[in-house]
């Protein structure tokens, strides 16, 4: 029974959502909107669970002075400060909540994002080492595409832009679409397996 009820809910919910896709009628749209509302309500409750989990995890680290407990202290302090500031002054653009968000969190996030530039350089170095025929082909293609994308490329060799566009529009696009078709079928297959109860590993009891 513990497994049958969730399976039945999944089957009914999945089938209703599939049918709904083909019915434009208002009743069908209301069912869809209703399910989205339910999702929002559930998400609201799970956010409480999420914050609870975050607090318990970091309090535990603090209590036992586990490695990196200082970061847990910063996390909990940040959570407390933002909650208090938001509750007292609100979240409007000129209030401290948004000011902290704009002048503290945004620059920190931008810093993390900018790390990507260095990681791309190190990953590109590894990827473009011409150790085999395929890697050499990749290196040559990358050089053509990169030089073809910048203005100086046309100054060096004018048709490079055309070669670069051809590489992107044909070999690259073919591979992307082939992966896309496989992904599409995989998604439908996974959804069907879950809806029909063929895949039930998420409920436990798997071999």
């Amino acid at each position: 029974m513990r497994r049958q009820i969730p399976l039945a809910i999944t089957l009914v919910g999945g089938v209703v959502m599939i049918i709904q896709y083909f019915i434009p009628h208002q009743i069908s749209q209301e069912i869809y909107r209703g399910s989205l509302d339910w999702l929002m309500i559930i998400a609201g409750f799970t956010m409480v669970l999420g914050i609870g989990s975050l607090v318990i995890h970091h309090t535990d680290k603090l209590k036992h002075h586990r490695e990196g407990w200082g970061y847990s202290l910063v996390t909990l302090a940040g959570l407390a400060v933002m909650s208090i500031v938001g509750l007292i002054w609100g979240m409007a653009g000129d209030k401290p909540f948004m000011q902290i968000f704009i002048y503290a969190q945004n620059p920190i996030q931008a810093t993390m994002f900018s790390l990507l530039a260095f990681f791309i350089a190190s990953a590109a170095y590894r990827a473009f080492r011409a150790r085999s025929f395929v890697a050499t082909l990749l290196l040559l293609s990358a050089i053509i595409v990169m030089i073809g994308r910048v203005p100086i490329g046309a100054k060096i060799w004018s048709p490079i832009r055309l070669v670069s566009d051809w590489l992107l529009d044909y070999p690259n696009m073919v591979a992307k679409r082939a992966i896309g078709l496989g992904v599409g079928l995989g998604m439908i297959s996974t959804a069907l397996k879950i809806i029909l109860g063929i895949e039930r590993s998420y409920l436990g009891g798997v071999k």
């Binding site: 009628h25 208002q26 989990s53 920190i108 063929i198 436990g204």
Partner: protein
């Protein structure tokens, strides 16, 4: 002194020129307006062939009005500025304006109507006068019970579902199904074993999407298999989550996997926790976990965005075995470069079945292969027919609308 006199002269000239220019400008405008009023005394030609009908394949409360452009719109005297759409609930009643479109547009959707009520419409072309079309109607709005634009999708879903059911039932009857090796999944045992030998934890990232994403669902099914192996090996599994709903489901999945492995006492709920719902805060948090905990194995399975390379490169620097899988095509090159094994697109969706080796799950992969065969055949046929001029309509059979 001389300079001041010169300045005054210039000022005087300016004072004289500005009103003169303004006068000539007004005269020119007046002349044009006068010329128009004297020569263009006729209103524009009215729009013709007005039709009004219930909008197809919609939820209702919507009527589409089409018309043929006025003869003076873009051609003729070319004076039409736009069209007003007028509506009434009776043919002889008072018409009210329900919308306007600019010149050159010959369609309008009236979404301020009630279902199953009669409406009459007329359209008027306007410049500085109006000329009205005839009245059309009555027309009623209603919602449809089937979207004909999605017939192709329906046919495909029915065929594919039939294929899945056929191959699953064949597999259940004991038919042997060959699935090509997936190195990334073959390495799971080795990766979990290595973590156990090293006494270090295993990190599992479910991606940065919500539970409604199929990639997240696929990742959760793989998590169940991996968690069971981790429980059998008595290793430690860390699952920092991006979404609280995903976290709740992941806790249940891992708990059930530990129960199945006969190790319910080893399950620690605090190892599956909510980290952050901010993309780069999450990336920073996971990076910190990798470097502090020195995780032996990292799994990145699910939907990823720009943080994919930040995570995978940090794991690479930390010396972890890394297995990634995603359907995000643009993130695949990053994972291929930085991870030991990468499940590309459909491999990611096949991973759960591959790990379990359950015949009925393998059957669905076989159905995927047949689906791909069908698509390849259609692409070849489409290419052929599209190249032949009078057979190019074949391609239109696969058009999907909203």
């Amino acid at each position: 002194m001389r300079t001041k006199i010169a300045e005054r002269r210039v000022e005087g000239v300016n004072r004289g020129i500005i009103p003169l220019v303004a006068f000539l400008f007004l005269l020119a405008i007046g002349g044009r307006a006068g010329a128009q009023s004297s020569t263009d005394t006729l209103p524009p030609s009215p729009p013709s062939e007005v039709t009004a009908f219930d909008t197809h394949n919609d939820a209702g409360k919507n009527i589409t009005i089409n018309w043929k452009l006025s003869a003076d719109d873009g051609t003729g005297r070319n004076t039409v500025k736009g069209y007003d759409i007028l509506r009434s609930e009776s043919r002889s009643g008072e018409f009210e304006m329900v919308g306007s479109v600019v010149a050159g547009i010959s369609t309008f959707q009236d979404d301020k109507v009630e279902n199953h009520r009669n409406y009459f419409y007329k359209v008027r072309a306007k410049d500085h006068r109006f000329s009205e079309s005839g009245i059309v109607g009555p027309v009623q709005a209603s919602g449809q019970w089937y979207n004909t634009n999605r017939t192709v999708v329906l046919i495909f879903v029915v065929i594919f579902t039939a294929l899945v059911i056929y191959f699953v039932s064949s597999a259940k009857k004991g038919k042997k199904l060959y699935i090509r090796p997936i190195p990334g999944m073959d390495a799971v045992d080795e990766a979990v074993g290595r973590a156990t030998e090293m006494g270090r934890p295993i990190l599992y990232i479910l991606g940065l999407s919500t539970i409604s994403d199929v990639a997240t669902l696929a990742s959760l099914t793989i998590l169940g298999r991996v968690a069971k192996k981790v429980a059998e090996f008595q290793s430690k599994l860390l699952v920092p989550c991006y979404d609280p709903i995903v976290m709740t489901v992941a806790q249940e999945v891992v708990k059930n996997a530990y129960l199945d492995a006969g190790r319910p006492d080893s399950y620690d709920e605090s190892n599956i926790w909510f980290l952050s719902q901010s993309q780069f805060a999450y990336a920073a948090g996971v990076n910190g976990i990798m470097l502090r905990e020195r995780t032996a194995t990292n799994f990145y399975l699910g939907m990823f965005y720009a943080e994919s390379l930040i995570l995978a490169e940090t794991g690479n620097i930390a010396g972890s075995i890394q297995i990634a899988g995603t359907d995000a095509v643009v993130q695949l090159p990053f994972f291929i470069t930085s991870c030991d094994y990468t499940l590309i697109g459909e491999e990611f969706y096949a991973a759960s079945a591959y790990l379990s080796r359950e015949p009925k799950l393998l059957g669905s992969i076989k159905a995927q292969d047949w689906g791909k065969m069908g698509l390849i055949a259609l692409i070849v046929l489409g290419g052929f027919f599209a190249s032949i001029h009078h057979l190019s309509g074949f391609v239109n059979l696969f058009t999907v609308g909203h």
